[in-house]
Symmetry: D2
């Protein structure tokens, strides 16, 4: 350690740990579903930590949330109805609502308390997104909601906790769930999910099985990755589409679509960044290709 | 920490630290120039640590060394004479010599003891590269060597320690040094240097000043980045060229050149990976653009 | 570490560190003189930490404060006027005022802010002692106060921060200071000071020089030690007396005096405990005997 | 931490951890019974660590081993036959054999590999004690040995690992075991056992139940404590005697016996030290008095 004092440590794997200087414990408690901490970490600012895993930090949440939301929305020809599973901080909702074309965004989060805590303590995360008249906030199980609703969506964005055994989210990473979700997508629709670490040290823990499971359900699947400092490494995302043929977008096309659809420029995502994210390094392409596991309700995949 | 026991900690910044389970201290000592450790870390295997900074690990040294060497060699129309500054483990030499077209590789490392330690304890790093008849190993200051030699080179590869105040390498990151090196490049030649962390938390510490300093000397400069687990984040590289106009290589061109020039496939570097590395995220492009510092012998740039 | 999460680390020596689970940061700031933290540590409860050094914890402050105060007061034939140097938490004052025979206790602490912070956040430390009509609270330099006052005292209790270079207290551990203090003691009076760690790993850092310095000033000197969990080891105290001949008190005598003088029983200090504290292990007796340093204003002794 | 680098951490309790700078991993492996490490820790020198718990360090093993052995031997009128349970490092044997009056010392340790590792790597611990013709080294279960032997002893010294669930030693802390051991003591005989931490933070974990269990078997029981830096706190020992009436020894008597019986002076143990060790602080006396648990084979007591 650079020096003694107050530190916050988080395990990346069973033999790798990251520590940050802990400036303030803004909130620490337990909801019905999970442990919640709002910590101010030196260099990162306010962070949301659920069950001991950092979900986002003020420093770089824009990287994670822009990377999660915009590729799928840009790849859709004109998204109007968006479903968000999870997303407690409200930052995924914020990015979705940046698209003036979006008429309605339904966010279903299991944990009312977490949302309330984020709303109160993380204003720079949500920036008032919950108050947007296009936002509909529902507290409940996103899977049950999708199974029961008669509504369909253009894009489904899954901003979930990692699939931890006994945690609240692992049943939102299974084949059965993706089948339910696919059935709720309009023609031309896309689903995107956060998909865990893509570091060489643990990319086969969640990322490759999620990609493989989605590939067993969706006509076409695209994976991408971006480095998120608060997660201690590169992070993966997987897009599943209703159409078989998905043309890669050129950097210019992405930039053109962003200029056309959005009012203000984004901080992280643009055409070149898009290209960097989707050009996976060899080991990730090889890992996806070699992966044979398909997560099911009976036989889910867990992050350790 | 996941559990008590033996750990190795390394600071990424003054407020961020990474710890790994320490399996074995293979070597620990001090040479005339620096502290040297060969550690076996859980998940990483054997690591070379100089002055408390991990230089490479068995797990992922192929990522770092392939990313350092091959882009510049591929961008050159047919490199025959290569100069390596630093590169104690011999893995940079190994990658350079993978190109059968290379007729001679001169490696100049300051620290004979480090090279001998690596040669003895890190056989999976060098894999016999030092014994290749095309390799010429010189112990001395790479800057003085380039200043004094009458030889010129097609590619110069700088595999140096970070520019630490009082360390052995900071004068190999200054404008004066790059001027010396440029003068030793043949027409069409390129220089590539490792360039420090490209993480949002500290990319302006070394990476953007190095890019800016090189841009003050070389007709054209290209930066790229890759995630290296053993460094705890994404790492930067900068290429300077003798020609003003450098055409970007398509993925297919890269793959074609690799097939034509190399005997065996690489583990990390290929056309798509090349594209991912050179498509810098927004914050790095913005950081490079905003950078005004130029490191000079009188006013060098240091990593903390 | 037992597990990742929030930890508070404190150095005992340059190569030894202790970590506790950090439950709450009750206060963190900087006064004119020092860094102040009130931390709630698992197992220890609320702790006062000055300049990165734990001063006392709810768990065991009674051990430290009873051990600091009562031996000297019991060894005096009937203390009425007591001077306290330092003692910000108010717990030393609390223990002094337990003696109904004490008519006046003057507490001089340099740092008004620390006292106010303790008064607000550490009620279980002071337990209202500041409101006792016999207490006189002065903010200022204890050394200057003793030099300037015309008053004399029966017992002087020094509850100071360790002698850290650049810290607020190191000039209250020098020969010149002890001469000043001795001059303010009534006949039969005693001075007691906290005297740093008595662990075999660092007992010669502060403890033996303090004992040796006091022995150069006081007619008679007695040292004792007690284990304080929050300090991570055994802690030392030194008593200096105005009389040359100090008879050791039997356990029964101590118990008898406590019964006679105090209204309620103490939690830690009694006759047997007194005996244990004053029966120094061999290495401490040998260390005191071998110590030749005498701390002076010109050549003080510092804890690293 | 004072600085990054190589550290060895050990848990004292579930929320308290101690870290030392790790200089060398001399040995690391697993025997049939337990994990074994010989570590060189800065400040402590060579340490034996079994199942993640430091057993002794070069710095202070003399404190632990002298405190374990000599009080019981001095309290006996003239010990000739001594039994040692455990004691892998050979340092307990070394201390026992310092008494020229001892004619035979039988040491029964479960783990032949640990003894061989200590014999090889810890010569400053055993100092050749294993080669003393009076030493008889047996590999096996000390409890079974005592149950089966026809021999009887003057003093039984138990230098065992803490009673950890699933560990090799917890059945040597139960009432049934003490009954077996008592039956193997000659008239006037004593048994002494190491008895775990006596820190206020965890003295009721092992120390008070061991004292209470021994009190349910032995006619008289005496407890004492000493600070051992390598254990991160004060450590307890309990003596059980075959005689009901045990007179406390004065410091002068202890010093006289040591002078008479031993050839050379001890480093730690003498009359005053003896007094300090047996004068337990209030909380330990209260803890022993309040303890009602008696460890049995069916219902043993475990250290967490």
């Amino acid at each position: 350690m650079e020096k003694p004092g107050r530190w916050y440590f988080e395990s990346l794997t069973h033999d790798l740990i990251v520590g940050s200087i802990l400036e303030e414990i803004v909130y620490s408690g337990r909801t019905r579903y999970q442990d919640v901490q709002i910590l101010r970490l030196s260099g990162f600012g306010l962070c949301l930590v659920l069950d001991g895993k950092t979900q986002s930090s003020e420093l770089d949440e824009y990287i994670y949330h822009e990377a999660l939301v915009h590729p799928a929305l840009v790849m859709h020809h004109g998204p109007k109805l968006v479903f968000i599973g999870g997303g407690g901080e409200g930052a995924t909702l914020r990015e979705v609502l940046r698209h003036p074309g979006v008429e309605k965004a339904v966010m279903v989060d299991l944990d009312r308390e977490v949302v309330e805590i984020c709303r109160r303590y993380l204003p720079r995360h949500h920036r008032g997104a919950f108050d947007d008249p296009r936002a509909e906030l529902v507290f409940g199980d996103a899977r049950a909601y999708l199974a029961d609703t008669g509504d369909t969506f253009d894009v489904i964005v899954l901003d979930l906790a990692d699939p931890i055994e006994g945690g609240p989210a692992y049943l939102l990473y299974t084949r059965e769930f993706y089948q339910t979700a696919l059935a709720r997508l309009n023609p031309g629709g896309l689903l995107v999910t956060q998909a865990g670490s893509t570091s060489p040290v643990n990319h086969t823990e969640a990322f490759t099985p999620i990609a493989s499971t989605m590939a067993s359900v969706f006509p076409s699947v695209l994976s991408y990755t971006v480095f998120v400092p608060a997660f201690g490494g590169p992070w993966g995302f997987v897009i599943g589409t209703t159409d078989r043929a998905v043309e890669p977008l050129s950097a210019d096309t992405v930039d053109g679509l962003l200029r056309k659809r959005l009012v203000e420029e984004l901080r992280f995502y643009d055409g070149i960044t898009h290209h960097g994210m989707f050009a996976l390094p060899t080991y990730l392409r090889a890992g996806i290709q070699a992966e044979t596991r398909v997560a099911t309700d009976q036989d889910p995949v867990f992050v350790v």
